[in-house]
């Protein structure tokens, strides 16, 4: 894996607020790398430092072996896609896209070719003479994408490009971006607060909180092996439960949870404290099943049915957990427990994840 971009020890403060604290990571050539996190976690600041729009207080940014930390943004080889598109309002679609090529003194004939090729790639052939205010949000975003891509940068930088689009359009655009970039050899850094988006698009995800890296890994790693309760609950809305350590033998751990004996699998042989926190995803929980090795009792507080997914909010003594059930037939709804009913929640030891905090 060739490392195209490496960030080392990057820190950035705005006055007394430290937006980034000692951030270090690498992006390989051709990799689609997502930076995920809640609002204010520093992900946009990080992207802007890489683009050169902000100057870091500390640390280095190295691209292809060259230290570009102090290089001005117009001398870096990046394609930046903005959240609000940032199309030039007085220029046509073709002029917008041609802008970067004109600056690079590319011959007129070649510019025309590349513009029409890229318009075809984003599905906007024939829109050359339109102005940005004559385009829908989705179309504007495609032009913004085309404009950044047409200059053939080595790194594409995306700043929450799909946040201003409606849900259906977001899913469509997501798919298009994935089609265009996977296998293209262009590295991308994609900033988003939407976990689903990050997971759908990337090979690798970095989760940030308050300017600190929480975890870096493939989407599967983050989903099935989160390190902390923040990561577990941010990714996939996992349930966090706590229990008193009773016994630990090799990989098997027994805990006392709400007066019941629960067995967990300590896959990574983590060091255990007296109180052990673990997470389990809503879809990994079963209702009133007879053959689950682990069992907890609770009362249904609320049920939410959206399409084929039923979400049950179950109260277990001091906290509430969410159980997700897939319903394939309309009769399935009738077989769900009722509100205020007592239920037995079951799960497998291998599916629960022991957390480090």
């Amino acid at each position: 894996m060739i490392e195209l971009l490496t960030v080392e020890g990057l820190s950035k403060s705005f006055g007394t607020v430290q937006a980034l604290k000692d951030i270090s990571f690498s992006v390989a050539k051709g990799e689609l790398f997502s930076v995920l996190g809640p609002s204010g976690c520093g992900k946009t600041t990080l992207l802007r430092c890489i683009a050169g729009l902000e100057t870091p207080g500390n640390g280095r940014i190295v691209v292809n072996g060259e230290n570009i930390t102090m290089l001005p943004p117009n001398k870096r080889d990046n394609g930046f896609v903005f959240q609000n598109y940032a199309l030039f309002p007085t220029m046509t679609v073709a002029q917008n896209i041609a802008f970067g090529l004109e600056l690079r003194k590319i011959p007129r004939a070649e510019i025309l070719n590349r513009v029409s090729d890229i318009l075809e790639m984003v599905g906007l052939s024939g829109y050359e003479s339109r102005k940005p205010n004559q385009l829908s949000g989705g179309q504007q975003q495609r032009v913004a994408l085309a404009r950044a891509m047409v200059i053939r940068p080595s790194i594409m930088l995306f700043d929450e490009p799909l946040s201003n689009l409606d849900a259906k359009l977001r899913v469509e655009m997501r798919s298009e971006i994935r089609n265009i970039f996977s296998g293209s050899g262009i590295s991308s850094i994609y900033v988003t607060h939407d976990q689903e988006e990050a997971f759908a698009l990337s090979n690798k995800v970095m989760l940030l909180k308050d300017g600190i890296i929480q975890q870096i890994g493939s989407p599967q790693e983050l989903y099935f092996s989160p390190l902390t309760s923040f990561i577990a609950s941010f990714i996939g809305g996992s349930n966090i439960l706590e229990g008193k350590l009773q016994n630990s033998q090799g990989q098997f751990v027994t805990l006392e949870v709400y007066n019941k004996v629960i067995t967990l699998c300590n896959r990574h042989f983590k060091k255990l404290k007296h109180k052990v926190k673990f997470s389990i995803h809503p879809e990994q929980l079963t209702l009133n099943s007879k053959d689950s090795s682990n069992c907890l009792e609770g009362i249904v507080r609320d049920i939410e049915v959206i399409g084929s997914v039923a979400r049950l909010f179950v109260k277990l003594q001091d906290r509430e957990i969410i159980v997700k059930n897939q319903i394939t037939k309309e009769e399935g709804i009738k077989r769900l427990p009722r509100v205020k009913e007592k239920v037995r929640i079951g799960f497998n030891p291998e599916e629960a994840v022991i957390l480090e905090d």
Binding site: P73, N74, G79, F80, F82, F88, T90, F99, R147, A148
Partner: protein, 265 residues
Amino acid sequence: MKILTIILKVLVFVCLASFIFLPILVLGFLGFTQDWTQIFNPSFTVEWFLSVPQIFSKAILYSLILAFITMCLTLVVSSLVAYLILREKITRFSGVIDVLIMLPLTIPQIVLGLAFMITFNQPPLRLYGTFGILILGHFVVTMPYAFRNIRSTMENFDFSILEAAICLGASEPIALRRVILPAIAPSLLASSLFSFVFSLANFPMTYIIAPAGIRTIPLVLFGYIESEIGGANYRLAGCLSLYLIGLVILLSMVVRKLTGRNFVE
């Protein structure tokens, strides 16, 4: 209830019409009559209307030149302020700049004119009695309106297009010239036209600081008021007013075309 609303609407319309439109209509109407005393039995003539450019040529010329120079000055200063806001060089002082530029609005023009008259009477600032003081005075009273317009445009402006241009490889001068300038040019132009119109129509400040021999259109119109009714040719005054009103309406249509906004906004 509905009838009451309609009566109220008609009442408001009639009041506004009679206080605002009626006097202007009468004045304009007068300009086209042949015999001033026969107001209700008029016979129309365009004789007076067409003779205005020749009779008032000096005043019209002075007004236009003064307005044009004021417009150019405000254009330059507005552009400068716009650039500084863009580069965030003055965000720390923007409150101060704001107050300074808007201050003339809060001071009555007559008072301002008096202050000018006294201040610029002594060396080394001996501008009193020259065209220069007139330009300065007009600039000071029209700048707030131009500035207000520019400021609201800049506040609602999406500067990420500047960043987009820079990320695509543009240097700052190129980004400003090719991306920002075309986007704010209509607004800059519109606010300069504001100054043009305000300069044309300005009276209180002009009356006090205008040097002898230089009379603008409003000053000429004022001259008619000072003489007795019936003694002067009110028809000419009426026609001149129509020219002025016509010019203002024309320019506000241009402003509207440029910015899509009303003159009063």
